[in-house]
């Protein structure tokens, strides 16, 4: 009877109701049926295409309000390949950082060769460290579990897949409607809160990409200091794998 033709009218009405409700549920809260990892994947895709170029401005703000700004040109391919080139200020121009999975390097033109750096170092000072500047997909580094769901938010507990990830654990609050992060608390393995990231100002970047255009961060380790990242010109871009190699670092600017 279940798999055959539904002949009874009350049963048919009930069946139709069930189908419609299921469809409504799927349309209204599509992510509700997703698990933490699926939401994290969706967050990644909503934040940026898999292969793209973009421009960012980093602003370090001191307690007295004075600022220091950096502008970076960034390209990314796949889940874990990324290069960021400093365009400004003049003192940093030409510096380039490369990330390949857990590996990170810094190229300084005057030094003339890439030096290995670690994710917890910071090439810009302030609250952002290298892993924030060269952030690859969250789903590449973390396993996520949903710990709470409210009417408009998912709260994910993300655990680092390996010990080489900069933050051992993230608590990510995701906006249900746009499926992008609102806040991310970053914790060390000891349980200490290292910093909190705040994603703000949802904006369309073209090609269907709508994501926060500002990310702020503060840290109990840097009381009174704040760092901000502004995003612009996020465009899909086809890139050769060889762009993400040490030998290519001196000529990243030619991709622009």
């Amino acid at each position: 009877m279940i798999y055959g033709k539904v002949s009874s009218k009350p049963l048919k009405v009930f069946f139709n109701f069930l189908v419609q409700m299921t469809l409504i549920m799927l349309l209204v809260i599509p992510a509700a049926a997703l698990d933490g990892n699926e939401i994290l994947l969706q967050v990644d895709r909503n934040l940026q295409p898999e292969s793209y170029e973009m421009y960012r401005k980093l602003i370090n703000i001191e307690p007295d309000g004075s600022k220091k700004e950096y502008v970076l040109y960034t390209v990314k391919k796949g889940q874990d390949k990324m290069v960021a080139l400093f365009l400004s200020p003049a003192s940093e121009k030409g510096r380039a950082t490369l990330r390949l999975g857990d590996n990170m390097w810094l190229y300084i033109p005057s030094v003339g060769k890439p030096l290995r750096i670690t994710s917890l170092q910071s090439v810009v000072g302030g609250v952002f460290n290298n892993s924030d500047i060269l952030r690859i997909d969250y789903s590449a580094e973390y396993n996520a579990a949903m710990i709470e769901e409210t009417a408009d938010k998912f709260i994910l507990d993300c655990k680092a897949k390996t010990a080489t990830v900069a933050y051992d654990r993230l608590t990510m609050v995701v906006d249900k409607e746009s499926v992008v992060p609102l806040t991310i608390e970053c914790y060390a393995a000891s349980g200490m809160l290292i910093k909190t990231l705040y994603y703000k100002e949802l904006k369309g970047f073209g090609d269907g990409l709508r994501r926060p255009s500002v990310m702020e961060t503060d840290s109990p380790l840097y009381k009174g200091y704040k760092s901000v990242m502004l995003y612009a010109k996020i465009n899909k871009k086809d890139l050769a794998d060889e762009v993400f190699t040490l030998n290519y670092l001196p000529r990243v600017d030619e991709l622009r």
Partner: protein, 440 residues
């Protein structure tokens, strides 16, 4: 390509460097709304930049040291004050698959001894990049091979860097090279081959080695299981054949290790034998380095490197040289005869004068970013220890980069050791240095 006697040019550069430094305001921005005009950063075919710097140095000379005696016997003094201005220009012109890159540097200084100036072309090369996999270069270019921070045993075609300032730009060599890159999936993620032909002729790379040879160097790079590995080879008549390997790897998010090993064949060297006579020897030498970089939660970075220079002089060989200088100085003072003194001067240029002429060294650098809760303030300390004779140099320093495009550095260096040890026999007893640099 040094232009000697360009005093007018250098004087003008010094003048303009000073103007740039003193008449440009420190650029601190007031707090306000965020703004980002991305069009301002569009790529241009011609770009240039660089820095201007002024430096003041006060040096207390070690009047009992061997190198003081050699350099100041005709002009004795106990201190030197020096003012230096420098201008470094970097430029690039890109068109299609080609790019022309250059670095120019001019420096002028005045100290108690006199005026000095220089203007150098550090780099000037044409680079062709038909695909992301291939690059061909020709011209003057800097090569910096190896993973070490203070020293690079496998830097076979590099100019030696100053361990106290390893990140400073150096002058390149004329050459032609091809760079091939291939990315792969799996444990071996990247393979890259760099080949360089480096001629040594009259007026072309003359200071590299023996004239009238074309030398070849190659580096095979691999990123294998998250470890950088390079195999390096040099062959040519200007220097002896040499082979090398290096590696670098992150062990944790805050811990990196690296190492280099080089095998140099048929090294020809003059040294003072046990009988005190200048003797020639030819031998192979192993030079290696092992280092680490560690970052604490409080942003303290420590770099430690052990360096073994198998081509260097042993402790007793260095002692014999310092004894020779002392004897020559005594003879000159007592008799006025400078034969031994001139001999010591000549011998000093046979390797004894090089910055680290000994065999075993330890390099130690520690600094803390944003120290004492002051953003962009980095106090630090650099120490170089000769492990054989226990002499050392120590350089505490303070760096401030809080004003956009400005860098202020105050450094004090002192050298210590027993008599007839390497750092005790150097010319300086200590040096105070204040440097202001403006990037544009």
């Amino acid at each position: 390509m040094r232009i000697n006697g360009g005093r007018i040019v250098c004087g003008a550069l010094f003048f303009y460097a000073s103007l740039i430094l003193f008449f440009l305001p420190f650029n601190t921005m007031a707090a306000g709304e965020y703004s980002f005009d991305v069009e301002e950063f569009e790529s241009k075919s011609f770009e240039w930049g660089g820095y201007a710097e002024i430096k003041f140095e006060h040096i207390d000379l070690n009047t009992d040291s061997a190198f003081y005696r050699l350099n100041f016997h005709q002009d004795p003094r106990s201190t030197i004050d020096r003012y230096t201005g420098a201008l470094q220009l970097e430029y690039s012109y890109k068109k299609g698959i080609g790019a022309f890159n250059g670095v120019l540097r001019a420096e002028a200084g005045q100290d108690d001894i006199g005026w000095s100036d220089s203007a150098d072309v550090y780099e000037a090369n044409l680079s062709l990049k038909p695909t992301p996999f291939v690059t061909a270069d020709i011209g003057k270019k800097v090569f910096k091979w190896g993973k070490g921070y203070a020293w690079n045993p496998v830097g076979f075609i590099d100019r030696p860097k100053d361990p106290n300032d390893p990140e400073e730009a150096l002058e390149g060599y004329f050459g032609a090279g091809v760079d091939l890159i291939k990315s792969l999936d799996g444990s071996l993620r990247t393979v890259a081959l760099t080949t360089v032909a480096l001629p040594v002729w009259k007026d072309v790379n003359e200071d590299f080695g023996e004239l009238n040879h074309v030398n070849f160097a190659a580096k095979l790079y691999m990123l294998y299981r998250d470890t950088d590995i390079d195999f390096v080879i040099f062959s040519g008549g200007s220097r002896s054949t040499r082979y090398g390997v290096d590696f670098s790897r992150n062990l944790a998010t805050n811990f990196e290790i690296h190492g280099e090993f080089a095998y140099l064949t048929d090294l020809k060297q003059n040294y003072l034998s046990e009988t005190g006579t200048l003797t020639k020897r030819e031998r192979s030498a192993k030079i290696y380095l092992l280092g680490l970089r560690y970052l604490t939660e409080s942003d303290i970075t420590t770099i430690i490197e052990y360096y073994h220079n198998g081509a260097g002089f042993s402790e007793s060989e260095l002692k014999r040289f310092y004894q020779l200088v002392a004897d020559a100085d005594t003879q000159l003072l007592n008799t006025g005869i400078d034969i031994l003194f001139q001999a010591a001067k000549n011998i000093s240029n046979m390797g004894y004068v090089s910055p680290q002429a000994g065999r075993n060294y330890l390099y130690f650098k520690i600094n803390q970013k944003d120290s004492f809760d002051i953003l962009y303030f980095t106090p630090g300390l650099i120490a170089i220890l000769n492990l054989d004779d226990q002499s050392y140099s120590v350089s505490p320093e303070m760096l401030y980069t809080g004003f956009t495009n400005w860098e202020l550095r105050l450094r004090f260096t002192f050298l210590k050791g027993d008599n007839f040890t390497e750092f005790e026999e150097k010319q300086n007893e200590n040096k105070l240095e204040f440097r202001v640099r403006y990037y544009f």
